[in-house]
């Protein structure tokens, strides 16, 4: 967290958007919503963090983190099959960013497989075509704004 959320807001008010979008703080946000429920001014801080993530990716600004790639990988499985696919997600992400991490996680992976908690293939929903159409339309509408 290079800038605290409060500092980010001060930077936004100061018009220093470059600094804001390069911050790694939104990427460390886990959406626990503590900030949102505690804020005495009822600012929707978590939603702002999501917005900053989207803007940072649009501008191609993030330096310090592999979080955007993680999200992108997750999304690609959902947009192809309608469901998330953990093995695919972990596999792709680790290969891209942390290949040696595979060894660290091997124990856990084996444990998951042996307990029957790991899918080897993705599941596709029946209405995949409809879902694709819906998402395409939504993205068109968003760009149009």
């Amino acid at each position: 967290m290079d800038h605290t959320p409060r500092a980010l807001f001060a930077l936004i008010n100061a018009g220093m958007s470059d600094v804001v979008l390069k911050s790694n703080t939104p990427w460390y946000c886990v959406s626990c919503y503590y900030c949102t429920v505690r804020c005495p001014q009822e600012v929707h801080i978590t939603d702002i963090m999501y917005t900053l993530k989207r803007l940072a990716v649009q501008k191609g600004h993030f330096d310090d983190t592999n979080a955007p790639d993680f999200s992108k990988t997750f999304i690609s499985w959902v947009e192809s099959y309608g469901r998330s696919f953990e093995l695919g997600l972990m596999g792709q992400h680790m290969l891209m960013h942390n290949p040696f991490g595979v060894f660290k996680i091997a124990g856990m992976g084996i444990g998951m497989v042996s307990k029957g908690r790991m899918d080897f293939t993705p599941t596709r929903i029946k209405g995949m075509d409809e879902l694709k159409a819906i998402l395409t339309k939504a993205k068109e509408l968003e760009v149009a704004e």
Binding site: Y34, T36, I134, L135, A138
Partner: protein, 331 residues
């Protein structure tokens, strides 16, 4: 009582134990769970990080699909993230006619539509405790969890942000900082519930994949908290939390060179055990940190635990000051 049931991607395989125990206990409680037809992923916290309108549309497809189940207007989700996403989308569509319009435009490309407020979106814990009631649940307990010290773990998204409860009384489902629903349920089942201060702190979600140190630390503080308070196990209500606390416990131990051995089970599994159901039928055994040594405490006759000898304080020597207690607050 009939409900639309949204399992979510995790419950299909990685948290199958949650799925089978939920359905089994729901049946025992007389709740009919009808799975949403051809549901899709809710997007977790990933989709909305890169798309805005599309993420609402993704979620809204599920809301629309759920309305295809006739005779129900309640949508129940066992996973906290799915619950949050569905509830949030429904709430935002009610608050913002502009958003509702755009989402429906997108949905129409798939031949669907959804009007905000049509469904009451609730978490499984809410439905079990508030619709069935603790009294009814108590009446079905045949194997009380006596002797088991449990740290109830809510995680973040079930209580935050605090959406107004769907029964229209204007209050939210539970307190955002110090919820008690799971505590009360576990007490009803006969367990000794630990006053676990981290009970509503976030498990870290996907943080283990983004920054190992941060992610593992978030897991460590929870396991440590439960362990410091001498809990035998943690009981949770979200598959992500279970995966983090249970699945990642060993890598976390390695990272910090600790040796916690804290089993993590789902509340529906505890419910099933208290109802006398067979452990295997509840998916017990799928957890990576073995729960058997904890469960042994309720499998056998438990002798009255000896109370540790407290230093005898005569009334005269007791100088401690009284204090106000939680649970007696009027809002």
């Amino acid at each position: 009582m009939k409900y639309s049931y949204f399992p979510g991607c995790s419950l299909e395989r990685n948290a199958a134990a949650y799925n089978i125990s939920s359905l089994a206990t729901a049946k025992a409680l007389g709740m009919e769970m009808v799975e949403v037809e051809d549901w899709n992923c809710c997007g977790a916290t990933e989709y909305i990080s890169l798309n805005l309108l599309a993420s609402f549309a993704l979620i809204a497809r599920n809301l629309a699909q759920a309305t295809k189940t006739t005779g129900v207007n309640q949508l129940v989700a066992p996973c906290s993230a799915c619950y949050l996403n569905l509830r949030k989308t429904d709430a935002y569509m009610q608050e913002s006619p502009d958003l509702a319009k755009k989402v429906n435009q997108a949905l129409s490309a798939g031949g669907l539509s959804y009007e905000g407020g049509t469904l009451k979106v609730r978490h499984l814990l809410d439905v079990v405790v508030n619709d069935i009631g603790l009294e009814t649940i108590a009446s079905k307990v045949t194997r009380p969890l006596k002797g088991l010290r449990i740290a109830p773990y809510y995680g973040c998204m079930i209580v935050r942000p605090n959406f107004e409860s769907t029964n229209g009384d204007g209050k939210s489902f539970d307190n955002t900082e110090y919820p008690m629903t799971l505590d009360n349920l576990l007490k009803t089942l006969g367990a000794e519930v630990v006053d676990f201060p981290m009970k509503a702190h976030c498990c870290g979600g996907h943080m283990t994949q983004i920054s190992e140190a941060t992610g593992f630390e978030m897991i460590r503080r929870l396991v440590k908290g439960a362990s410091d308070y001498k809990a035998d196990m943690i009981v949770t209500l979200c598959p992500m939390c279970q995966l983090n606390l249970d699945g990642f416990q060993a890598p976390m131990n390695r990272h910090f060179k600790t040796n916690y051995n804290m089993p993590v089970l789902y509340f529906t599994q505890m419910l099933g055990l208290a109802f006398g159901m067979d452990a295997a039928s509840l998916g017990i055994g799928q957890e990576l940190v073995d729960a058997r040594h904890a469960l042994a405490k309720i499998g056998v006759e438990v002798p009255q635990p000896e109370k540790p000898a407290a230093p005898k304080k005569s009334k005269k020597d007791d100088k401690s000051l009284p204090m106000p207690l939680m649970g007696k607050v009027e809002e």
